[in-house]
Symmetry: C2
Subunit: 386 residues, 2 copies
């Protein structure tokens, strides 16, 4: 279908014109004074969003490359870890642990529910000999749209020496995440999320405690070696040729985030979440996730009885140019996911909801046209969280 898409994904997110223009320039050298300045400026900007003074390294890779770096640099073959899993990305952490010989105990929660910090506490109290070297979990679990309470999980870890490794790929910049105040040792994110630039860069923060663990780590890595990345960073370089154009986009998008201010950026994501949830309910659909743990990055929606979510997505794309995400893993046949992450406008949400109404009405669901947009408008006028 010709024309602009309404792009409602939990990443990649739409690109601001300012970012597109910032990237549409001649290439720059990655071992020269301009890149040095760019690398340092972008790193400082990302650290503001991370709310950290820890080291922050940028890898040319998808977010998953950052997850691999977080396991391979800080956990040894034979080490024990506790993986908290609330969805497909929790399962991904398990697979990466297995790849690197890390023996994991897992705390699995039903997909669509958040992790219970009390159970984390319990697991760690049981580990009297401190065999568990790291706790791994998601901030926003992108496969379900659940936001874990990282502050409470961190508190549950406080009397145990395990590192806390957080995949904040879709959550950072959408929900609050205080890397330093909450003592988060390793936090991973990606360029195509709240940062509003194309995919290609993963970011990872590293605490002093995590660097100490890295010293003792017997897992070897080359491309994702973070110590080497830190050494090069200090010279204003990356060990290997970086995705320069994404850096150029990031410099601009970080300016935009600074102009808006982090609290306002986060508030915007919550407002959009509430608009989408209100709209969904008004057309008689049900969000997968309870309000209290709903991620501001995306909303999973249960398909109406007898309707395949794949058909909804296909019709949205083919008939209305609206892009939403499918369910993953065991939820593939029961949900679809509406992203409200990054450079989304209220108009995208109105348009997406109106189109969704038409699609499910066409599939036999009874509803009052316009009701979902009205509900979203009402939230828009009230502001978020009221």
């Amino acid at each position: 279908m010709e024309g602009n898409q309404v792009f409602l994904l939990p990443g990649p997110t739409p690109l601001p014109q300012r970012v597109i223009r910032a990237m549409a320039v001649p290439i720059i050298q990655h071992r020269g004074p301009e890149f040095k300045e760019l690398l340092w400026e972008v790193t400082d900007g990302i650290k503001e969003i991370y709310q950290t003074n820890n080291d922050l390294l940028i890898l040319t890779a998808s977010g998953t490359g950052g997850m691999e770096a977080a396991v391979a640099n800080f956990l040894s073959n034979g080490d024990k870890a506790l993986v908290i899993s609330v969805g497909a990305f929790g399962e991904r952490f398990k697979k990466i642990c297995s790849t690197f010989g890390v023996v994991y105990d897992s705390l699995d929660f039903e997909w669509g529910r958040a992790a219970d910090p009390e159970l984390v506490s319990e697991k760690l109290r049981e580990d009297k000999n401190h065999k568990i070297k790291a706790v791994l979990c998601q901030h926003s679990e992108t496969s379900t749209g659940v936001l874990n309470d990282i502050e409470k999980i961190s508190r549950a870890c406080q009397d145990h020496p395990a590192l806390l490794i957080v995949d904040a790929i879709s959550g950072l910049g959408a929900a609050d995440l205080k890397t330093d105040a909450w003592n988060l040792d390793v936090v991973i994110s990606g360029s195509q999320k709240s940062f509003m630039v194309p995919p290609g860069l993963a970011t990872i923060s590293v605490s002093g405690r995590a660097w100490e663990a890295a010293q003792k780590c017997n897992n070897k890595c080359y491309y994702f070696n973070l110590k080497q990345a830190k050494n090069f960073f200090e010279q204003g370089q990356t060990p290997f040729t970086p995705a320069v154009s994404v850096f150029l986009g990031l410099r601009e998008s970080l300016k935009m985030m600074r102009e808006e201010g982090l609290p306002a950026v986060i508030n915007r994501h919550y407002r959009y979440r509430d608009m989408v949830r209100a709209g969904i309910r008004a057309m008689g659909l049900e969000p997968l996730v309870d309000e209290s743990v709903a991620s501001p990055a995306l909303t999973s929606v249960k398909a109406p009885p007898g309707v395949k979510p794949q058909v909804i997505r296909q019709k949205l794309l083919a008939e209305h140019n609206v892009v939403v995400a499918g369910g993953q893993g065991k939820l593939a046949d029961s949900i679809f996911r509406i992203g409200h992450l990054g450079f989304i406008q209220p108009g995208d949400i109105f348009s997406g909801l109106a189109s969704l109404e038409l699609v499910i009405r066409d599939l036999g669901v009874e509803l009052e046209m316009g009701s979902s947009v009205k509900a979203a408008q009402e939230v828009y006028c009230k502001g978020a969280g009221d």
Copy 2:
């Protein structure tokens, strides 16, 4: 310094306006019909440059990520390999082998010289029990500007079952490389080289024999798992979020390469090489590498006696906006490198040579101004290789 740079690097290379425009568009979804078509079209285009019908996979990473994938997927911990090293990237293969527990025997040649295929033959003949599982080497060694004779190296391997793994990151598309006709099992390249797009993607071709080796491989990889990449490719996807904007650039640059025709693309690189070499000599400087093995991707130039190559580079950038690369490793203090790779124009070479004349004259080298440009013009008029 304001104004356009004259960009003479062995990657990243300048971006054509067509590529910049192709990338300056709204983002697309990576799990949808548009990306599927994009992935398959780009893969087919890259396979033409590789001259292969083998599987071709695209990873979101620097070229070094492709080198890591080439070792980790096809060689087991404890396997023996033969690493042919003619420079810094040969040394990089050794480090990656060490990381993955691959025991390597090495054939080291003086930096600035090419590998001797006869010695490769000899090494393999000595390995009567076929302990060597793979031979690793560079096509164009980017640290020196040497082009290895991959066809002859391949012939040296033909009576031995070892896989032949070739790093063609800077060489592919600049010098001829017949992946299938020369029986090359694994060939690596990168987006920011002759493909004329920004860094962010590594490409890797895999022969049937290499896939068989992968079945038996005990090294585990997650992010760079090529079997998983192949499975996703068949569905028109990548396992992890790809650097979508670089793909969009590649679609356009591959069209440009097809319009020009691969023989003409390669001929252009040789012509530029000859222009640069003639110009260098005309101003009294000496290329590091003998004509017979000089890479068409870049030319290493020995700094004149008593002059630091770093000073030449700094002055070129500060006074003339000309970007060239420094020497690497043990050559850092004796050479600089002029790239003539990718989207370079003859005018860039004239401008670069004229600026270089002014810089070294300023540093006390006697020369006749204009002589190097004249020499390059003469080569330009004659065509390459005459």
